[in-house]
Point group: C2
Chain length 200, copies 2
C-alpha cells in the first residue's frame, strides 16, 4: 500500500497523524485536502505554523501564551492582580474568560503533577507562581485545575506550598452541572455535590 | 475572547479550522499542540506541507496523485492496461489496492458530476479517460464511483460516452455489506441487493 504513495505525500500524512485525535484515515483526508488547496494557500498555512511557533511564548508573569512580553490580561490595569486563578492549560483561561464573570488574573501551570507520566512540580510553572505571591501582595489563589486525580493532587500540593506564605487558597466548586439530570450524574460527582451543599 | 489570543495563534487556529472535519475546538487543540512541538518539528511539519504541495501532481495517464511523471501503477508493466477502474478520488484507489485482488489500472476523476456544486463533466478528467480508451486498446471500464446520486449520474454519463467507442462498461455490485444484518440495511440497499441477485 504505502509503496504506492509518493514519499512526500506519505510524510505529510505522517505529520497529520501525529496531531492529537487525528487517526490514519483523517490524516490522509487532511493531507489530500492540503494538496487540493491553491499553492499560495498551502504556503500561507505552512508559514502560519512556523510563524506561530516563532512568535508565541509564555507571558513573563502568568505563563499564558502570548506574542508580547506580557499577555493582554496581565497588561490590563483594570484586572485585579491580587487574586490569581491557577489553571492547567491556556485553553482553560479561554473557557473562564468566556464567562465574562472573572476580572482578576490567571496563572497557567502548563500541565499537572503526574508521576506516571514523569511530570513533577518542577516541570510546571509553580516557581513562577510563588514568585508572584511574594511580589504582588496576592490575597487569594483559586485552584481551578481539573477535577481529575492529577488535578486534585496538584491543587493540594500547591495549596500546601502556598499556605505558609499567608495566602488564602480556594478551590472551584464541584457538583451537578447546571441543566443536568441527577439520575445521570456519576457517583463521585454526587458525593462532591453532597459535600459541597449550601443552605438556601 | 479572540482579542485575548495572539494574532499569530488566531491565524493558525483559523487555518486548522479550514481543514475538513476540524471544528473550532479541535482547531484550537491542534494549534496548541503545534506550539508544544519542538521548533525543529514545527519547521519540518510546515515544510512537509509546502513540499508535498510542490512535488505532488496528477499522473500523466491515470490522474492519480504522484511525484513522478507516471504513478507506480501506470509504470508497472505487470498491471493490465486494457481494464480501467474509474474512481472518484485517489483515496478510492488506496481502498481498492488494499484488497490485493485487482491487478489492472485505474482512472481518477477527481470528483463527480454535481450541477448543484457547479461541477460539470469538463471539470473532471473524462477527456483523459477517453484518450486512454483510444490509445490503449481498452476492453473494459469498471465504473467504481460511489453509490450516491451523483456517483450514479457520473457512471451513467461516462458509460453513455464510452459505449459508442466499443468498450464494455461495467459497474461495481451493490448490495448488503458482508457481515451486516439484513434488518439494519436501508431500503435502497435492499432494493439494489434484490435487483442484483444471482443464482447459487
Amino acid at each position: 500500500m504505502s509503496s504506492l504513495q509518493a514519499p512526500s505525500l506519505a510524510t505529510l500524512i505522517d505529520w497529520f497523524n501525529r496531531l492529537p485525535g487525528v487517526g490514519r484515515k483523517s490524516a490522509q483526508r487532511l493531507a489530500y485536502y492540503v494538496l487540493s488547496m491553491s499553492e499560495e494557500d498551502a504556503k500561507m498555512f505552512a508559514s502560519a505554523i512556523t510563524e506561530a511557533h516563532q512568535k508565541i511564548h509564555r507571558c513573563a508573569k502568568c505563563c499564558n501564551l502570548t506574542d508580547e512580553e506580557l499577555c493582554p490580561i496581565c497588561k490590563n490595569v483594570k484586572r485585579d492582580k491580587t487574586i490569581i486563578c491557577v489553571v492547567e492549560d491556556p485553553k482553560d483561561v479561554a473557557a473562564l474568560e468566556k464567562t465574562q464573570e472573572y476580572s482578576a488574573s490567571y496563572h497557567v501551570l502548563h500541565g499537572v503533577i503526574s508521576p506516571l507520566n514523569g511530570i513533577g512540580p518542577d516541570q510546571l510553572t509553580i516557581k513562577e507562581l510563588v514568585k508572584r505571591i511574594n511580589e504582588d501582595n496576592v490575597s487569594e489563589v483559586i485552584m481551578a485545575t481539573n477535577a481529575t486525580a492529577e488535578g486534585e493532587t496538584t491543587a493540594v500540593y500547591i495549596s500546601r506550598l502556598l499556605k505558609p506564605l499567608g495566602v488564602k487558597v480556594t478551590r472551584l466548586a464541584y457538583g451537578i452541572p447546571v441543566g443536568a439530570d441527577l439520575e445521570y450524574a456519576d457517583e463521585v460527582t454526587l458525593i462532591k455535590a453532597l459535600e459541597g451543599r449550601r443552605e438556601i
